[in-house]
Assembly symmetry: C2
Homo-oligomer: 347 residues x 2
DNA sequence: CTGTTAGCGCATTCAC
DNA sequence: GTGAATGCGCTAACAG
């Protein structure tokens, strides 16, 4: 009863052959009109179209894939689907791909490198036309090897600086961080702390660059004690902020390199009875859903996540069409969003 | 340069035929060991395995799909990928499927009914073995028709009550709502308001049932003015809560049927200068990421989202294996999570 | 136990 | 313009 047999009333899905015979033409002709070839007589085209409609025919993509070599699928590897950050990129990718009638095949890696590698291996073998790798675990070398195999892919948010030839899209991390820092500076802050994410990742490195550049051009001497490392999580962000706030000479503002850690900083501040933002300004990075929701609402740097996903898709599409990419490394603009977590320092 | 040609150094991916000749057997034999058939001599099996490893061979799933009739893909339709709610379910599904070496093909519907229908149509035609429909737009009739076609699918979070025969998984909405209401009741609240989501959806209906049941069994007369409809969004939740709070005799507690609306309620209360939770208790539903992050942290009903996703996957897997499902309609337990947004009413 | 023979549904040379 | 023939890589009977 839970077992739907091929069913009696149900018209079995028709094949190209049936359409052909119904239209009184050969399957080759049907294939032609299906693929919009120009060399078909209008009359025959109509006949075929009618047969297609009558039968409710849809081309079997599997068969087409095997024959034509293109599957219409794009693999997307990502560490974690449930992370809103990736979900937002993924949404952009899926949507852009959809518009080209292509679909996303998900392969969550769960941060398991081995898993990622074997996955990619399988992806390549006939199941996908290409892939989009989000925050890939793969080393530059592995990526280059993959490229050498001729498998088209684009990376989003590279963990480490990538080789020249590897197409990648990321956010303008440095300039975003610069804007955030300048904002703090212009409010009058001078003792500004930074909570890095994983220090080795490109995103952290770039943001730190922007942070330092802003301080430097304002003639502010950066206190090394005010730059601490963390791991992008709320909990660790809270710990890092706590340490900062317990310093003999604590900062008046904290720039956390993502919203999670900024939220942790908010907690640490609250735990110490600090009034926000009067006694401590906090800036995040990402502009996650949470940023607008916490109290006080977080001033943060917005990453165009969906856009990044779309861009990655469109780069990949161009690769698939053998087009030359004018720009292999795309960096999308970030934007400072000022909310309630920043204010001038107390005199 | 951006055009990775088949590449010279790159070994073209080998086919089963090459493996066969390398191992000195027929392709049928290779196919057998690849699929773990028992009827192969250990010696030949070893020889084949070695050849497979040597060549770095991976079976072409497309070809297998066309031949064997199974694609190894499961389609997942969902309104919005970026919504954390669906992302969490999706993660569970993808993970469970992955363990069976199957993959998820994404088809976001963007709430477009037409789109959903044609999508499903295509999904069925050879590209997927089955599907998981999250909060499907399809009517019961359409779903039944689909079932009649013999296409296996499972729905997660049905919008309307489904026909008996349609496999579905959802959360224990009624009992969750009952628990939430009882919690408020036991705190001493008597004027308890409810902000429904979209009133027609099963989730709302069920939660309302639970809400009313709890009130009834506590002997509390429900005031119709305290039950208002909304749409599951923060903004509308805020409006609804505002209206409630502006009542001549406002409620002392609000049970919002999801966390978004609860967060809206928090805002409305704050806008009116109410102290939380002393002057207003708020309970949500979902236990989203945000719930733990807002101030005050939200007391809410936790939905086992990932579990729901996994369960849907495993039901589908069973359908695919022609197993009979003992239970077609699975309801996963919810759990009250008490945090800081609820307290006894002021005397 | 293993090899041979047929397709799966479609795209794609070729002739006509 | 259109049709017949061939193959994509693999699985699935059927023989032996």
């Amino acid at each position: 009863m839970a077992q739907p047999e091929p069913a009696q009333g149900a018209k079995a899905r028709s094949t190209i052959r049936e359409v052909a015979s119904a239209a009184g033409v050969s399957i080759a002709t049907v294939s032609r009109v299906l693929n919009g070839r120009p060399d078909v007589a209008p009359a025959t085209r109509d006949a075929v179209m009618r047969a297609v409609r009558d039968q409710g025919f849809t081309t079997n993509r599997t068969a087409r894939a095997l024959s034509g070599g293109r599957t219409g699928f794009v693999g997307v590897t990502l560490p974690l689907i449930e992370a809103a950050y990736f979900a937002r990129i993924l949404a952009g990718t899926a949507e852009a791909l959809h518009e080209q009638d292509m679909r996303v095949v998900l392969t969550p890696t769960l941060h398991l490198h081995d898993r990622a590698v074997t996955l990619l291996d399988r992806l390549m073998h006939g199941t996908t036309d290409g892939a989009i790798l989000m925050l890939p675990e793969e080393t530059n070398e592995e990526l280059k090897a993959l490229r050498r195999l001729g498998y088209p892919f684009v990376v989003v948010d590279p963990r480490e600086p990538l080789d020249e030839g590897i197409p990648a899209v990321s956010a303008a991390n440095a300039s975003g961080a610069r804007a955030a820092t300048q904002h703090l500076l212009s409010l009058g802050h001078r003792r500004i702390a930074a909570i890095l994410g994983v220090a080795e990742w490109t995103a952290s490195v770039e943001r730190l660059l922007g942070f330092r550049a802003a301080l430097a051009s304002a003639g502010v001497l950066a206190d090394p004690a005010l730059v601490v490392e963390s791991d992008f999580s709320i909990e660790e962000g809270e710990k890092a902020a706590a340490a900062l706030l317990d310093l003999p000479e604590p900062p008046t503002a904290i720039f956390a390199f993502n919203d999670n850690m900024a939220i942790g900083a908010l907690r640490a501040a609250r735990a110490r009875g600090l009034r926000l933002p009067e006694e401590l300004s906090v800036v995040g990075f990402d502009d996650s859903e949470e940023a607008a929701i916490v109290t006080p609402a977080l001033t943060t740097v917005r990453q165009p996540l969906a856009e990044m996903g779309r861009m990655a898709a469109s780069l990949l599409l161009r690769l698939l069409e053998n087009q030359t990419l004018e720009a292999l490394n795309v960096e999308l603009a970030t934007r400072l969003v000022v909310r309630d977590s920043t204010a001038p320092p107390r005199p």
